[in-house]
């Protein structure tokens, strides 16, 4: 109370006559109540051992529940994701948030290959996102190719960028690797900013074509004899169609990423990635080529970043270097780490949590950042390995052998 009083309780106000001080007692009151409650809970927790045992039990039960019911949760989540655009409460804004969350889920899944599986901390993942977005933008504006041609090309370009980054950092590990990848992310952004002839510098690239539904565009101003999505299906023209289409597009892309990751985890490459994360020297002694293994991880992770970037470009119809700052990389890494390294469901939860909640609580302005920080601290305290940190073996000798 004594501390809160002067810090929060008094707010300066500048008026014509001079500097005023407004007391904000209500705020102080809330904070005091809040902290007292928090203190009380902590005391409650530490004073009773049975209480702790209970908490531990529930935690164990929750984690068991998640590992047993993982499949059900995934299916429920999937069904919800499919039905989401048509739910009664979903408006344009929520749909937009949904698209954004899915984009980050996809990025999280892509980065999960590099960070979660191969254990290579990549702080410059946004670079591949940017490469994907820019290659898509350039290909579609200069050659006028359609979305479905540009998308794989954008992925290939990003994968190439991944290999380009991979080569010099092969020998690095841990902190050093993180710093170099961070630098790489910045380099890509600065190149985009300064290569004016190609990228348009800070002006960005505009007029990127929108994806079409099997050749049917989502427009209202049609020329004679042309079909668009709404005329073909005899629907009333609505901008929501386009948004719903984009939503399903990113949903499919994200699911492809997920399916791919789940599959590749069970392949020798996937196992080699995880083995490399565990112990590189042991890997070498068993004849696993660390160079190739790391490069494939970088390339495949980057490829999915590139796909997400291409989607971003077509959704915005405009790209500029401003969208690819370090904070984006940080958010994606936070999603992966918070979700639990290597856990696909964890990434989804973390993405919904990080992106969804910050969006939903936008009205609360700076307080959402406090809540955000608090949540981070709580997770690090109680779940230091991330929300879902259970690792399922990729193959089993006993039990549910598939």
């Amino acid at each position: 109370m004594a501390i809160f009083g002067p810090i929060v309780g008094l707010r300066t106000r500048l008026q014509k006559e001079g500097l005023y001080i407004d007391p904000q007692w209500l705020m102080v009151f809330f904070l005091v109540i809040g902290s007292a409650l928090g203190r009380f809970l902590i005391n409650l927790n530490s004073s009773r051992k049975t209480e702790i045992a209970f908490v531990k039990n529930t935690k164990l039960r929750i984690s068991n529940y998640f590992s047993n019911k993982g499949k059900h949760i995934a299916i429920t989540g999937f069904l919800f994701a499919v039905a989401y655009p048509f739910l009664p409460f979903t408006d344009r804004y929520l749909l937009d948030v949904g698209i954004m969350v899915l984009t980050y889920i996809m990025l999280g899944w892509g980065l999960n290959i590099v960070v979660g599986l191969a254990g290579l901390l990549d702080l410059g993942y946004v670079a591949f996102y940017a490469v994907g977005a820019y290659s898509f933008a350039l290909l579609s504006t200069t050659f006028g190719w359609s979305f479905w041609i540009c998308l794989p090309l954008a992925g290939i370009f990003a994968a190439f960028a991944g290999i380009l980054l991979g080569f010099p950092v092969l020998r690095l590990r841990g902190d050093y690797l993180a710093i170099v990848t961070l630098g790489f992310g910045e380099i890509v952004r600065i190149i985009l900013l300064n290569w004016y002839d190609l990228t348009g510098g800070p002006d960005g690239i505009g007029g990127i074509s929108r994806p079409s539904f099997f050749g049917l565009p989502f427009t209202n101003n049609l020329k004679e004899g042309e079909n668009s999505f709404h005329t073909f299906f005899n629907l009333e023209y609505s901008t929501a169609h386009k948004l719903i289409f984009l939503y399903y597009l990113i949903l499919i892309l994200a699911l492809v990423t997920n399916f791919f990751t789940l599959r590749i985890r069970k392949l020798p490459v996937g196992r080699a990635w995880e083995a490399l994360r565990e112990d590189e020297i042991a890997c070498k002694s068993l004849g696993v080529n660390p160079t190739n293994t790391k490069l494939t991880a970088f390339a495949i992770g980057a490829m999915f970043g590139g796909f997400a970037g291409a989607f971003f470009a077509t959704k915005q119809t405009f790209v500029s270097p401003e969208s690819f700052t370090f904070i984006e990389s940080a958010i994606i890494v936070a999603i992966v780490v918070l979700g639990g390294m290597g856990s696909q469901t964890g990434v989804v939860l973390a993405a919904i949590f990080l992106i969804g909640f910050t969006e939903v609580f936008r009205e609360l302005e700076q307080f959402r950042m406090i809540a955000f920080g608090l949540a981070m601290v709580l997770i690090m305290l109680f779940k230091p390995k991330g929300i879902l940190s259970n690792r399922e073996p990729t193959i089993k000798l006993h039990g549910d052998k598939k």
């Binding site: 590749i264 392949l267 196992r271 080699a272 020297i281 042991a282 068993l286 004849g287």
Partner: protein, 264 residues
């Protein structure tokens, strides 16, 4: 006398001014256990690191005789040694993939074969039968070794959750899953209780006789060394001071001096 498997000739390894191995020559044979012993810092592990490609020796030659073919181990670096020359090793401080399951550990050891079978992941992604069969085969092989060491019930547990002795065993059978010609074991009995080390002896004898694999063993536990070695090489300060059978080694004056010091 069985066939010669490995011959090390005039091997020298220098780290700056320090000579870790000085002009060392010895040989090891197929289906035999060759022990390298010596006081701490004698250069035993350095010999292993040279053989398995982790260090590049300053001088000398290491030749592996395999199927009427002689391979110079110097040509290969780290991971290729296991892949091409079929030399496998374990480590003094256990190096397992501790948060992966026991079975996964054994499958990683068969990485190269599986990788080819999975068509460098492309066929594997499509879940083709060819890969499935190969994977089943790999699992069978893993199971064979697990059954042999009594670890089958632990197959789906994390390798890091095993007891120390089981981890040692797992590391050895993981190395065996690479189908090695020569198996280099760096202190496999360190930290084992008497029961576990007698089990280890049995396992090593089995590998030697049934798999025709040559074993190179670094060990401090003399009950293991004397119990199973066919041939002993004694190092001190990087130099070979004695070579012979286990019995001869026990009675050798030089060896006793190296371990206990010279009488004034």
């Amino acid at each position: 006398m069985s066939n010669k498997l490995l011959s090390v000739e005039n091997l020298t390894m220098k780290f700056g001014g320090l000579i870790a191995i000085d002009n060392l020559s010895f040989s090891a044979s197929e289906s035999q256990i060759t022990s390298i012993i010596g006081p701490n810092g004698a250069g035993k592990t350095t010999v292993f690191n040279c053989l398995t490609g982790f260090y590049k020796p300053s001088e000398g030659e290491m030749i592996l005789h395999k199927d009427n073919d002689s391979i110079s181990l110097k040509k290969y670096t780290d991971f290729k040694i296991s892949h091409k020359a079929k030399v496998a090793r374990t480590f003094q401080n256990i190096r397992l993939f501790s948060s992966m399951s026991v079975l996964e550990n054994l499958l990683v050891a068969q990485h190269n074969e599986l990788m080819v079978a999975s068509g460098y992941s492309i066929f594997g992604l499509l879940n083709l039968k060819r890969y499935k069969d190969k994977e089943r085969e790999a699992v069978e092989k893993a199971k064979y070794w697990l059954d042999l060491t009594g670890l089958t019930t632990r197959a789906d547990d994390n390798a890091g959750d095993l007891s120390y002795g089981d981890q040692r065993k797992l590391e050895i059978i993981r190395a065996m899953c690479t189908n090695p010609k020569l198996l280099c074991l760096d202190e496999p009995a360190a930290g084992l209780n008497p029961k576990e080390s007698s089990e280890l002896n049995k396992l090593l004898k089995f590998i030697k006789t049934e798999k025709q694999t040559g074993i190179l063993l670094i060990e401090h536990d003399m009950s293991v060394v004397m119990g199973i070695s066919d041939h002993v090489v004694v190092l001190n300060y990087g130099k070979k001071i004695f070579e012979g059978t286990a019995k001869d080694t026990r009675n050798s004056k030089e060896v006793i001096e190296a371990y206990l010091g010279v009488e004034e």
